[in-house]
């Protein structure tokens, strides 16, 4: 499995549809403070099934929907779609005949959530199962958020155990 493309609409500061292509080995994301780089990281965690608003720096999950600016109104839905190409040994067999797998998550301000795999409605559990099968899963070490590196070293030994358990 290789990352192919991320599509963000209405998620955090991404008012308009934004497509990030990930076809290279090393992609760097740059820009001034506060312009949205870590929000892209949050979008990836969220579409992979993150259920804790706190891990996305919010107070409630509704915080991920574009809240407006001083001049723009808020939106009523956030949508993130992450697309993978199915090369490589980690593709779950039921998708191996397709060239791409796309995972989409939507949240409405009403509180309603929708989940899709290859445009087919699924449950959140199907998404987390898919990622667990591909080796991305809940790996605590696939995404190193801003400020987290220091915590790994200063964490209590019991918390560090959790990382090893992820490998087991």
């Amino acid at each position: 499995m290789r990352l192919k493309r991320l599509e963000i609409i209405g998620f955090k500061s991404f008012l308009e549809k934004t497509i990030v292509s990930f076809d290279k080995d090393v992609t760097a994301i740059v820009g001034p403070n506060g312009c949205g780089k870590s929000n892209i990281v949050d979008a990836i965690c969220w579409v992979m099934g993150e259920q804790s608003a706190k891990h996305l720096r919010g107070k409630s999950m509704e915080d991920v929907i574009f809240a407006g600016s001083e001049v723009r109104a808020q939106l009523s839905m956030a949508s993130v779609e992450l697309t993978f190409s199915t090369e490589g040994y980690q593709t779950p067999f039921q998708y191996a005949d397709q060239s791409e797998i796309s995972v989409c998550r939507r949240l409405y301000r009403t509180g309603e959530s929708e989940y899709f795999i290859n445009r087919i409605p699924v449950r959140l559990k199907d998404i987390t199962d898919l990622f667990l099968g591909t080796g991305v899963g809940r790996k605590a070490y696939s995404v190193i958020e801003q400020g987290k590196v220091h915590q790994i070293v200063t964490a209590k030994p019991e918390q560090r155990r959790y990382y090893i358990e992820e490998v087991a």
Binding site: T27, G68, S69, T134, G135, I152, P157, R160
Partner: protein, 151 residues
């Protein structure tokens, strides 16, 4: 299960003992089980000694040394159970120029099995990437992506 944990622990420790001196150009490090008799609950300690220095508690390490030690451990886990991608958000912030270079070198070494996305303010890290995307807020509060080809 107890056996699975112990096996994972030993494999990660083995890699960690190789990667740390590779990143620090010397020195040694290893993982330690706080309580070897309690494999279901025992915490995991990190022993780390940068080259030429005395072995002391890792709490005394500098900000940059702690960051590199964490990177060594994370990549040790990656080598045991690779993930298709790895996202690193400003992990290079506390590093000096020499260590930023080593950080980017080890990322490049790991790209065989893993795709990397790095968020950075560091010019050296930008230069080693294959492609740069710029995120801007031309309009306050609204993010936009700009492609900034490097090569």
């Amino acid at each position: 299960t107890k056996e699975k944990f112990l096996e994972a622990f030993r494999m990660v420790d083995e890699k960690f003992q190789v990667i740390f001196p590779h990143l620090f150009k010397g020195g040694k490090a290893k993982l330690l089980l706080i309580n070897e008799n309690d494999l279901l609950e025992s915490g995991v300690d990190i022993i780390a000694q940068p080259p030429g220095k005395k072995l002391q508690s890792i709490s005394l390490l500098s900000g940059g040394e702690k960051a590199l030690t964490a990177v060594s451990l994370i990549f040790a886990m990656f080598l045991i159970k690779p993930s298709p991608f790895c996202i690193l958000d400003e992990v290079d912030a506390p590093l000096d120029d020499v260590n930023v270079g080593r950080y980017n070198d080890i990322i490049r070494e790991m790209t065989g099995k893993t795709q990397f996305v790095v968020i950075t303010h560091n010019k050296n890290t930008m230069e080693t990437a294959d492609v740069l995307y710029g995120v801007t807020m031309q309009e306050a509060g609204v993010s936009q992506l700009v492609s900034v080809e490097m090569h």
